[in-house]
Amino acid sequence: MADLPGRYGEYGGRYVPEVLIAALQELEEAYPKISQSSEFRTELEDLLATYAGRPTALTFARRMTDDLGGAKVYLKREDLAHTGAHKVNNVLGQCLLARYMGKRRVIAETGAGQHGVATATACALLDLDCEVYMGEEDIERQALNVFKMELLGARVRPVSSGSKTLKDAINEAMRDWVTHIRNTYYCIGSVMGPHPYPMMVRDFQRVIGIEARQQMLDVEGRLPDVLVACVGGGSNAMGLFHPFIEDDDVQMIGVEAAGEGLETGRHGAALSAGTAGVLHGMCSLVLSDDDGQIFEAHSVSAGLDYPGVGPEHAYLRDIGRATYVTADDDSAIDSFVYLSRMEGIIPALESAHAIAHARILAPTLSRDAIMLINLSGRGDKDAPQVRDILAARHSESH
């Protein structure tokens, strides 16, 4: 898709301090060699099947379909993967790569803790040292995930700089990597960062779309008409979309977090409201002011609370191959409840954004149309937060 390696139109690239260049070149050379070797492929496929629980199910959402009265709705069940989200696909790939590269120490950033828990899980499995950078604010909000990471043998490093959230955790992980470049592997959690990360993470997440494509053919005998997935950094959406890119009749829709509303400035919608800029080693769409300072993103869902987005999404938007819409905090909460009641599936708040858009779109489509939603994760982690929000709503209405 890209003109140059690591370029997606004008986006992508490698905007990093000089110290990191050699490490990225080493990774760029090692990745295709290792990931295409039959030894690596066999080991990863085995882990995905016997450890992560792949292939994940494709579920026909019968009650949701009936209720919405339009397109047939299917759910790709990444919530059923080990650790409860699609994140495991990427960390198993990257941590296995780290081991093949002889790097015994793995670092990662985490916002709400999902990628941190997934990385800690893979490091426990593969016997690697693991340190996870996490903003102090997030540590407070996500105490359970901190405990899980420690339980899994990882060290959680609190980050007190900047906004003390995900973007600062990434900054601090990059500072660690600069310092320990020779023995450390940086396991980035989404299709972002400097080349080759956006490509690598996409490749490891493509398993979602490859499986879903075959499952649709098996069940319906044809491809879906529309794919819907939430987009923060964009890894679950890219994993679903990418194997369908050449299928021109398949529409692809990414749903970003509108937070408290795009007009309030408190959102996480880099594709819908961002400008081209440079953040965390990549050129992409970012939330930045006229002076080039990065905004704090906002979303009720920590996984979408990021002021940038993967560069390939920015490219797919520009060429019109994918479209990007938003869902706000309230509609995500409503859809969290909706899917729980309709299908007996508690979705992650991130995935609830995709459900929210599907509820608007499906009724406008014919009954022959097929919609495939990526249910990127399960919502157990969000249950306490949603309980509090619903209780607050309840007391306001009385």
Partner: protein, 264 residues
């Protein structure tokens, strides 16, 4: 000949290493920065590096991270920094180099920034996260405006790449002394002298060393083999420790003079 080039050729003639102090513009506010730069120039700085604050400075240690945060909370913008240079330029003859991150420069537009920077008398620009592979248009715009795009090299830079960097850099090569972020260290990185002498073998370009250099003794050590020594965090610490601008100017001035004496 640009101001940076002629400064280094003078210094080489005298056999002296340049003292390059760094501070963040707008920490704690731009008027104080102006007073601090004038004091540094007076106390013996040979070239002055002015940091442009950014919200996400991934190559900085805690000291300069905090100074960036203070500068941003005082409302410092790139346009404000250019105004600062405009005020300073007629008052001092030391080359002035801006150091910052790509997003801030690119947000203004490559050409717009280069022309505005030329207008006020910026001599060089160091962009921490813009390697030459990505910086083509920006660096070309700077060169057209007679501003030096100064590239960085590090201990992890392979030899073949080093040859490319010394070819493409202008004014001097900024050699990052260690694999790590900015900030004071107890010891100078092992192998530093050898690394600099390797660069000398392939290029005439002046080599300045920064990151982790904070004491007069370390400056004197670097001065034996490099064309310039950059001191940043140690000065920023003094600015942070002073509660009002007056004492900050006094302690910075005194420390710069001490560093300069170590090089004579």
């Amino acid at each position: 000949m640009g101001r940076i080039e002629s400064r280094f050729s003078d210094m080489r003639e005298r056999g002296e290493c340049a003292l390059i102090p760094f501070l963040t513009a707008g920490d704690p506010n731009l008027p104080t920065t102006e007073a601090l730069v004038l004091a540094m120039a007076e106390a013996g700085a040979d070239l002055i590096e002015i940091g442009v604050p950014f919200s996400d400075p991934t190559a900085e240690g805690p000291t300069i991270q905090r100074s960036s945060e203070r500068a941003l909370s005082s409302g410092t913008t790139l346009r404000g920094v250019l105004k600062l240079v405009n005020n300073l330029r007629p008052k001092i003859d030391q080359p002035l180099v801006l150091m910052g991150y790509a997003n801030v420069f690119l947000a203004m537009g490559e050409r717009n920034f280069a022309e505005a920077a030329k207008e006020v008398g910026v001599d060089g620009v160091i962009t921490v996260d813009l390697p030459p592979e990505e910086g083509g248009l920006f660096f070309d715009s700077l060169i057209e405006c007679e501003i030096d795009p100064i590239l960085l090299a590090s201990p992890t830079t392979p030899e073949s790449r080093m040859a490319m960097l010394v070819e493409k850099t202008r004014g001097f090569l900024y050699y990052v002394s260690l694999t790590g972020v900015t900030g004071a260290r107890k010891e100078i990185a092992a192998g530093l002298e050898e690394a600099v002498s390797k660069i000398r073998k392939i290029s005439e370009i002046p080599v300045c060393v920064g990151f982790g250099i904070s004491t007069p003794e370390q400056v004197a050590e670097v001065g034996r083999f490099a064309d310039g020594a950059v001191v940043g965090s140690a000065l920023v610490d003094l600015i942070e420790a002073a509660e009002t601008p007056g004492p900050a100017v006094a302690s910075v001035s005194e420390f710069v003079a001490k560093l300069k004496r170590a090089l004579r």
